[in-house]
């Protein structure tokens, strides 16, 4: 028997901040003291709070340690594991918390969260099926085995679950269409091709709780009458793929996958397909083409995959998070419980990835209907460095920006769409006054332009033309007519592109023009980028009032454009400055400021 379980967050965020080394140091310390067998160390799934990683949660004490370094492990073992006292120094602290946070209830980041989809992440060992089963896993599936097919679809419909991948189509209806489609052979496909930059929800679910997705797919297979499934996962997610493989092998060993499952006569086989890096494969018909081994190009619908999908057979495609919700709905009383959370049109919870200029970056799960303000300021802790909140980008390259005046908007599918953004898969990227909205639109367009598959002309040519205009504006050669041209191009692409990705790629432009038109106008008419991003449209100067002559900026400047004696005010030679911003990063007094570019005429006078 173990005295304590130590859950070390082993998700990509914490691994990147060195949780592997922390685990090694902990193991070495336990071995040195000869007490290794008393404690169980688990590389667990995502705990969510990436900002303060690496994280260890100790059970049953429920103590949350964060920002750990390998050198902290000796003290942790000595004081907590042996001495039984909490190491205050390693607890979560923040300016807005009076009592250092011990566990989820006291840490503001966790207070408004509801753990449904992430119910097991960070709590179980994702590589051991028994731990999933102990937490009620596969119970919903065995219940579904005893139900009639239409009854299963009906429960999913009544719960009000909508697709978590972007468009929010009612899941139960999709299942029903596939169920009634004629055909002996049918497929279940899980879309794990999470391609939106700034989004890592699906990866965290797969890494932290792979069996929840498998169980969801099994229930779907049972409901629609499919005997085979595919999980299409990005090859860039090696850990997720590894854990899925382990989970599938264990489920097969337990007779939960394969022939005649639990002696019910139901057969189901599951395959993993590794994607090869193409954003367009997130679109369902392109994804199916890719599984078939072709170029991942979309095709017109109808026929919808429910009628003619993978290899021409009826196919039900859902996203990772959608499947992970299914076991909750299909358990006894699950429908009512699921539908009790959320708004009229959007039920349940949604997992969001918080990133950008937000204090608490990480993964969170919140009830639908919560306001954007609560997510950004209560869960997310507000803007980094207390700078001014400018906007939040929701839905990636298909989504849009939500400005400060809409912070009290409740998060549900319809209100986000109305505001010009989309729920998308759940990436929320926060921007402050140093983010240029024109540059942001240019960034997204350069992404969609590169990723456009080239099949239809509106997307292939339209993204190129829109990108050219945006680049011109960012370079300072924008023309007053550009805004109208952009808008009219954007609307024609929305109307005429072949697939969902093409139709939504103008969204970042339309929403930034809608809410930040003045920034575009400033770029075009005044050649000024107030955020200090578009290099041709601003220059740096050193504020003589606040400069203390510490010389840091001069030392860090890669082109030696800054001069000045120690303890004297420094100056920037504009003819050398490349506006790389290195000086801004190191200035302790915030003395490096942005100003309009002085024209030649002004300089010579």
């Amino acid at each position: 028997m173990y005295e304590k379980h130590l859950m070390i967050c082993g998700a990509t965020g914490c691994l990147s901040s060195n949780s592997g080394k922390v685990k090694e140091a902990l193991e070495a310390e336990l071995a040195r003291r000869g007490i290794k067998e008393k404690y169980r160390l688990v590389m667990a799934g995502c705990v969510g709070f990436c900002e303060v990683g690496p994280i260890i949660v100790i059970y049953p004490d429920e103590v949350f340690y964060c920002r750990l370094k390998p050198g902290d492990m000796a003290e942790l073992v000595e004081k907590h594991l042996i001495g039984g006292e909490v190491v205050e120094r390693l607890l979560y602290t923040s300016p807005d918390v009076e009592v250092p946070g011990r566990f989820y209830d006291t840490i503001p980041f966790y207070r408004k969260q509801v753990f449904n989809v992430l119910r097991n992440s960070g709590i179980i060992d994702p590589e051991i099926i028994d731990e999933y089963i102990m937490r009620g896993g596969y119970r919903a599936f065995s219940r579904a085995l005893k139900m009639e097919r239409p009854q299963i679809c009906d429960e999913v419909k009544r719960a009000g679950l909508r697709g978590r991948g972007g468009a929010g189509f009612p899941t139960g209806m999709k299942w029903e269409f596939t169920m009634i489609a004629p055909g002996e052979k049918k497929y279940v496909v899980c879309n794990a091709d999470e391609g939106d930059p700034g989004a890592f929800m699906d990866r965290s679910i797969l890494e932290g709780d792979p069996h929840a997705v498998i169980e969801g797919m099994l229930i779907c297979g049972r409901a629609i009458g499919a005997d085979e499934g595919y999980i299409y996962c990005r090859a860039e997610y090696p850990l997720a793929i590894k854990r899925l493989r382990i989970a599938i092998a264990q489920a097969e060993e337990y007779g939960l996958l394969g022939e005649n499952i639990l002696a019910s006569g139901f057969n189901f086989h599951l395959n993993i397909k590794e994607g090869a890096g193409a954003f367009v494969c997130g679109e369902e018909t392109a994804l199916l083409a890719s599984i078939e081994g072709k170029r991942g190009m979309p095709r017109p619908r109808p026929p919808f995959p429910a009628v003619s999908g993978l290899f021409g057979k009826p196919t039900c495609i859902n996203n990772v998070e959608t499947f992970a919700n299914i076991p909750l709905i299909l358990r006894e009383g699950g429908v009512e419980e699921f539908a009790s959370i959320g708004t009229e049109s959007s039920k349940g919870t949604k997992v969001f990835a918080l990133a950008g200029k937000i204090r608490n970056t990480g993964l969170c799960e919140v009830p639908m209907g919560i306001t954007i303000r609560e997510v950004i300021f209560d869960v997310g802790g507000g803007v980094q460095g207390d700078r001014e909140f400018k906007a939040v980008q929701a839905g990636g390259p298909s989504g849009g920006c939500i400005p400060a005046e809409l912070l009290d908007l409740p998060i549900d599918y319809d209100s986000l769409t109305k505001a010009g953004a989309i729920m998308g898969s759940g990436g929320l990227v926060v921007m402050d006054d140093r983010t240029c909205m024109v540059d942001l639109a240019r960034y997204f367009l350069s992404f969609t332009q590169k990723e456009s598959c080239g099949k239809c002309i509106p997307c292939r040519e339209g993204t190129k033309r829109m990108l050219e205009i945006l680049e011109r504006i960012c370079d300072g050669s924008g023309e007053p007519a550009d805004l109208d041209t952009l808008e009219s191009l954007a609307f024609s692409i929305k109307d005429s592109a072949l697939c969902g990705l093409g139709q939504t790629c103008p969204n970042p432009i339309l929403s930034t023009i809608r809410y930040f038109r003045h920034e575009y106008e400033e770029h075009i008419n005044e050649q000024f980028c107030r955020a200090g991003v578009c290099k041709a449209l601003f220059q740096y100067y050193i504020d003589p009032e606040t400069c203390i002559g510490c010389t840091r900026c001069a030392r860090v400047c890669p082109v030696s454009a800054i001069s000045g004696e120690k303890k004297e005010v420094h100056a920037i030679d504009q003819s050398l400055c490349t506006r790389c911003g290195s000086c801004v990063e190191v200035c302790p007094k915030n003395s490096i400021q942005i100003t309009r570019v002085r024209r030649k005429a002004d300089v010579s006078s």
């Binding site: 939106d196 994607g275 991942g296 290899f311 970056t361 942001l440």
Partner: protein, 163 residues
């Protein structure tokens, strides 16, 4: 370009007998093109043309189809790559935290552009859509090692630690 010279030299010594073994498990199956290309790339580090020709013959799939698929997906490389692969994240979070400055600085130091390899085959510089380590933006990966919370002036030291 140094790359091409290097590439053709490698092609000269290419052991193609491996291709048959790599392709073997996929004969007479459907939807095999991507996994076959992934296997070939795993073995050779990129997709050498002679290997594709041989695989196409074995699989009885036109070379044009293999080529069409290979050039469609970002994962597949048609040129040999360096010993160390630098992947600079181009995700939204990294972009607004100054990610483009990171790639620029690497380009300056290594004197190559994105998707190029240094003449000594030490580094290949690539960009990826998102690594998913947004909390540590801006981020890059060198081989399988992530480096986070980067600033341009940290780059030189990091690159120097690779052989």
């Amino acid at each position: 370009m140094g790359n091409q010279a290097e590439g053709s030299a490698l092609n000269g010594e290419l052991d193609l007998s491996q291709v048959d073994a790599l392709v073997e498990p996929y004969l007479d199956k459907q939807g095999v093109v991507i996994p076959v290309l992934q296997k070939i790339q795993e073995h050779y580090g990129y997709l050498p043309r002679p290997a594709l020709e041989r695989a196409a013959r074995r699989l009885r799939i036109p070379l044009s189809r293999l080529y069409g698929v290979a050039t469609f997906y970002a994962q597949f490389k048609m040129m040999p790559r360096g010993r160390n692969i630098i992947r600079v994240c181009k995700g939204t979070a990294c972009h607004i935290q100054g990610g483009s400055k990171i790639a620029e600085r690497i380009e300056e130091i290594l004197k190559i552009k994105v998707n190029e390899t240094t003449p000594d085959m030490k580094f290949t510089l690539e960009e990826v859509a998102c690594i998913g380590a947004c909390a540590l933006a801006p981020v890059m990966m060198i081989n399988d090692e992530p480096h986070g919370r980067l600033t341009p002036d940290k780059i030189k030291k990091i690159l120097a630690s690779y052989e």
